[in-house]
């Protein structure tokens, strides 16, 4: 079918993100993780005792929407929360959390490699810098 939309990078962006995202979700589901969960685990691992709201800012998830995410990770025994002061809470991985994070990282690394392998070689190295230019300090700061 002749498609008048495929010439638009924005449209291709949406379709590619949906395609890649749904496939990654399937793989992460085997670890009982969602994409946001895995992102949070990796970020907490890189920044132990990070604050819930700081994590939300880093992942572009609003404070209100962090609540069920953190509740899920805590219920699964993957993270611990401890009070930093009277209003902030620091997040750290539990031992189980570290194990699951390692598995998730392996899944993601493999997925990313497969993703790149689908791209013609001459375009491959350009994808990441091009994408990053679109959202890092992009229009939505």
């Amino acid at each position: 079918m002749d498609d008048p939309l495929i010439r638009f990078p924005g449209y291709a962006l949406r379709r590619a993100a949906n395609s890649a995202g749904s496939e990654l979700s399937v793989r992460l589901a085997e670890l009982d993780l969602r994409q946001a969960d895995a992102s949070a685990l990796l970020m907490i691992d890189a920044h132990p005792a990070i604050t819930a709201s700081a994590l939300g800012r880093a992942l572009d998830i609003q404070r209100a929407n962090m609540v069920p995410l953190l509740k899920r990770l805590e219920s699964a025994g993957l993270i611990d929360r401890h009070a930093i002061d009277g209003k902030s809470q620091g997040l750290v991985l539990t031992k189980d959390g570290a194990k699951v994070k390692a598995k998730a990282l392996a899944v993601i690394e493999e997925f990313e490699a497969e993703l790149l392998s689908r791209i013609p070689a001459q375009h491959r190295a350009h994808l990441l810098p091009a994408l990053n230019a679109l959202w890092i300090d992009g229009a939505d700061g």
Copy 2:
């Protein structure tokens, strides 16, 4: 904040798509259109009398979810439906639909140009072919 995720193309894909998508939605909202609406208008314009289910396949929208979309476009007076045979219906743009489609196309063209302008020149031409490789006949073909 040091971000362990920005080295992943898949993550950048999601963030970039969200960023670009939400911005485009704001602009299309001034025409009372959603992204799927605009996509449908462009596709119907390129394929007059296209079937509802064929349109859904082209846009990767399930038949069930086409119902409210088409109802919305029809209620707004942008499309007409006529029976092709006993079970299929052909979709065409109304005069108003053609006008709105032209406006939407202008919005999208401008948006896409701005999007590309944010990408360093040496990466710019590679984005579209790289993205298209990810979803056209990709893993979810």
